[in-house]
């Protein structure tokens, strides 16, 4: 005789630990859970509001410098260490978690123009207004021992920037020319020049490590390949570019910070038109740095704000400012994609969260899941007017807002004028230029 027995699998109702929450059997029948869209919409709206409420990006301010910060660099191997140089020639090493200065070095007379850390994280290089390149040990000297550079190279002209190769012991400086140096030698291995101009910034491509790009004072951006005998190509823009940064995940894209308040992302294979024009700043953009994931970049501007742009969007997703922060001169994105560092005129280095409303520290799985769900909800309902309105709202200081309005008006007026000119001239004689095409003056081979 067959006996049927009711049985229950204990896995279905027994908790793994007593601290675990009770297992609740659920019925996913859609008729039991009506109004999916309105309910999710409400959740999305709440998530958006909470996101704005919790958006407190400012983490810490590191003070100690006695002059404006001119450059910051990340330690190659340690997330917690940051090196900064000031306009009085002082270089400071900071410990970020403890928010304190570990070491102070009087590196140069006059400005420290550039700092870069060696790829192995044992030493760093500085260049200054006193025409020297100095290599410093990252380890602090013993008690009572004087701070002395490992190596000093005396140059002929002022160096304005420096960058180190990703894997080899060569570095590049810029000034009157772009020079490539071997660490072991006191004279440059190679030096590139193309016309008479001075350079403000030079950067190695982190992926295609033999490629270089530099910003020159004749409004141009010049590309080099260290394996070639001559520079590759030059783009001349309407105004000067201050700095540039390569995308660390996409070998052929770089973004430059321009004097005309915009940033331009270029594809080095097609230099005649920038891929994207990033607008939002209301004053010259002074520095730019990519996030290590290559998805976004942060820019520092003379208008006392920092903005974070998605790499392929024309407008910023975030703007950071504080009352006391003056012209932001340098900005860096931390290597773990979590923080942004900014150095400004009023002698402070500020630490910001890259994601303003992100919760810091370890999250439990449920917290993580909730955060992901909320993020997805906001993304799903991002086009709905109420959600969009709240998600987009940012507070801006009055003067910046005023400038913004003013510039919008000016732009509108310029556009109207151009249109009128076009209307009253021979058809085809005034070509219709897109925003991207407007800013490139020429590409020189």
């Amino acid at each position: 005789m067959k006996v049927k027995v009711l049985c229950r699998n204990p896995d279905d109702y027994v908790r793994e630990t007593t601290r675990d929450i009770q297992r609740v059997p659920r019925n996913y029948d859609p008729t039991l859970h009506p109004f999916e869209v309105p309910r999710e919409y409400t959740r999305a709206l709440n998530a958006t509001k909470l996101e704005r409420v919790f958006a407190k990006p400012f983490v810490a301010s590191l003070d100690g410098h006695r002059d404006g910060i001119s450059c910051i660099t990340k330690h190659a191997k340690s997330l917690s260490t940051v090196i900064s140089g000031a306009c009085d020639g002082e270089v400071k090493l900071w410990n970020l978690p403890r928010q304190e200065c570990l070491r102070t070095v009087q590196a140069h007379e006059g400005f420290v123009r550039g700092i870069c850390s060696r790829f192995c994280g044992t030493s760093f290089f500085t260049v200054g207004d006193d025409k020297t390149i100095k290599q410093w040990n990252l380890e602090a000297p013993g008690y009572g021992v004087r701070e002395e550079p490992i190596n000093t190279i005396l140059g002929k002209a002022v160096f304005t920037g420096i960058d180190h190769h990703q894997r080899e012991s060569t570095f590049v400086t810029c000034g009157q020319t772009v020079d490539i140096w071997d660490e072991q030698r006191s004279s440059p291995i190679r030096s590139f020049s193309w016309g008479v101009d001075s350079f403000s910034c030079v950067r190695y491509n982190p992926v295609e490590t033999e490629l270089l790009a530099s910003c020159a004072s004749d409004r141009s951006i010049v590309l080099y390949d260290t394996r070639e005998s001559a520079p590759l190509r030059k783009v001349i823009m309407q105004l000067r570019s201050n700095t540039l940064c390569w995308n660390p995940m996409e070998a052929y894209y770089f973004t430059c910070a321009n004097e005309d308040y915009n940033l331009y992302t270029y594809d080095i294979r097609h230099l005649d038109v920038p891929v994207t024009v990033h607008m939002d700043h209301v004053s010259a953009v002074l520095d730019v740095d990519y996030s290590p994931t290559g998805r976004e970049f942060v820019s520092a501007s003379f208008d006392k704000t920092i903005r974070i742009f998605p790499k392929d969007k024309g407008h910023s997703r975030e703007v950071y400012h504080t009352k006391r922060m003056q012209h932001v001169i340098c900005v860096r994105w931390s290597a773990d994609n979590k923080y942004v560092l900014s150095g400004s005129d009023e002698m402070n280095i500020r630490l910001w969260k890259a994601n303003a409303s992100e919760k810091l520290g370890l999250l439990s799985t449920r917290e993580k899941a909730a955060a992901h769900y909320n993020k997805k909800l906001i993304e799903k309902f991002q086009h709905h007017p109420q959600v969009r309105r709240i998600a987009r709202h940012r507070h801006l200081p009055g003067d910046i807002l005023k400038q913004k309005r003013e510039q919008r008006e000016m732009k509108e007026a310029r556009r109207r004028r151009e249109q009128n000119v076009r209307k009253h001239s021979k058809p085809g004689s005034v070509p219709l230029l897109t925003e991207k095409e407007k800013h490139v003056a020429a590409v020189v081979e």
Binding site: R39, Y41, P397, Q419
Partner: protein, 745 residues
Amino acid sequence: MAADEEELSINEQAISASEDEEGSDDERKHKKLLEAISSMGSRKRKKQNERSEASVQVSEFFVNAEGTGEKVNLSDLLGTVEKTSGASNKTKKQLRNLQSSKETLELPLNKQQTEKIQRGIAYEKTAAEVSCWRNIILQNQKAEQMVFPLNQESPGPKRVEQVVAGWKVQTPLEQEIFRLLHINSQPVDDPVLTPVEEQSLKAMSLEEAKIRRAELQKARALQSYYEAKAKREKKIKSKKYHKVQRKAKCKDFLKQFDEMVKTNPEGALEELKKMELSRMEERMSLKHQNSGKWAKSKAIMAKYDDSARKAMQEQLQMNKDLTQKIVVPSDDEHESNEEGLETIPDFVNDSEPVIDSVNPWMRGQLTHEEPEVSCVTTEDVQTAEEENEEEELVGEFERKRKLRQADEEDLIPTEEEQPASEVVEEDVVEVSDKEEEDDDDDDEEEEEEDVSEFNTLFRLMRSEKTLEEDEEGLLNEGQIRVRNIEDLEVLGEFVDPQPIAEPSLPRTAAVEATSEPPYKKKREIDLKEVLTKEAKAVKVPFLPTVVDEEERDEQISIIKEAFAGDDVISDFIKDKSKLEAAGRPEVVDLTLPGWGEWGGVGLKPSRWKRKRFRIKTAPPPPRQDQKLPDVIISENRNASVASHQVSQLPFPFQNTAQFESSIRTPIGPTWNTQSVVKNMTKPKVITKMGAIIEPMVKEDFIKNKTTTPGGKGPAIMLGENKRAKEGTKRSSEKHRGRRSQKRRK
């Protein structure tokens, strides 16, 4: 070397001499020193350097050519060549020619130009090199999820030999075991993978292998389904079914052929040839001639049986069809016929806002019968009917099969039908085109152009503006600081609610109505005509064309004549009153018979009860079009909801249906199981806490693809590739170095 030593010795002598005198006479000493120094760099030195005796090593500094300063002439070389027997006559001749020619070589390019060329070449090379990243970058951009840092080592326990290096066999037992392993050529140090496995891994990465496997699986599954289907269909005994199938196939083929004519004329030609061939065969054979055994038996039956007669008739018809030559219809007739058939129904049935401004009646939907086409003969009608029947049958079969399939499996991807919208758009365009042709005036054209240009400019300007406003990431920056949720609520008041249009209905619905042209006559294919047919040039007017007053009056009268039967105005009034009636509050009757009084057949609830339980709702606010007699304003739009609705179709979506479906699918745990939620809400970028995200390393992502077989390529190629090869070699060395460094740490 010898000279240097000599000099040194001289110096030493000089110094020692001065020392001997112990500084008695400074002048002399100085003189001597000067002499010694001057002897170092003077011309005397050269004279000294003359070779005086034979030695094994001949320094290059000692050799001086006899005729230094004199130029080497070609004749010098020629003299020796003439004497040597080895040199061929050809070379001698060439050399002689060279001697006689007076041409000089061209000047080299100037420095600027050479540099420019160099730069150009270098740039091309670098650009080509960099574009090898394209695939990886695109893949990363499209990836649903990226995990940083890239190339993370897999978590979990590792094998001993991965962690510990330099472990050696010690005990005798181990030695014994390893000896055995050696003998059987098994891997001794127990690697994670056997050589064979490693090879296979190298051949194909895991991802690729997975993709390949999935593909193969799918192909196999599809094949098996197809086979099963074929078997099933083969088993069906119904002759009618097979007949129907054949006809359907034929029809399909015709359709395909039509498309082929447009896309692949060569293929179409071949098909046509095939048809010709089949015709020939038919003419040769006695098939379908009603001369077979079956036909004879049928012929006997034909007197009494209607169906037999019909079958015979069919056979004959088939023969006729097959042997019929493909007829060449005259061009203009065909054209006009087609157009006449195509355009009229489109014109009438079009529910879209018709471009013609003159003809306001075209807007409304008219109850309209299918136009009877006079030229279709009765036979055709019959065949069409037959076809319809067959179609129905086929459809039924299809439906049944689909049901069965759905029961069995739904893995097979059903092919979506091509949206018919494109075709219809073309039709519409054609119509407008014709109209334009009708009322074109030369003078007006220029004006129109001007106006249209302004108009386009204006439109462009407006679109720019809207684009600017609606750009994705544009932040809404203001002076209001948001501190808590209440502030967020208040935020709304500052933004005046924009008038939001209702989401536009998907056009496809309207479009489908007109998508099937009523012209269904069997086409006769003309080879040349079909293949050399050119596309019609279509002009689209930017503005509704301006028409003269007189012409307009004429038009109106024509329209009036055409629509004399339809009373459009009364229709409109009816519609409006209907809408008004629908908007009026209804009386809700809640009276229940039998409660509180007698109930039964023929008994009505009492008046007081009716009065009490009939509930009148409050009248709605007056309609907006109450005072406008010839306007209907829809009241469907709800202002309170509109502020929460999306007014425009957001960017990546193609139509409203897509967007709506994306909104309709819930992602929350209330509606989905845990794993689904996890999958749906996974973030795009995952970073590991406290880990440094290094930039991409070229060697990890781009495999060395430049492994050309040595010796086969030309020598010049080698020179060009040298750089790349060197680079890879260098980098691989470097890479190895880095790895070893890591291990050391």
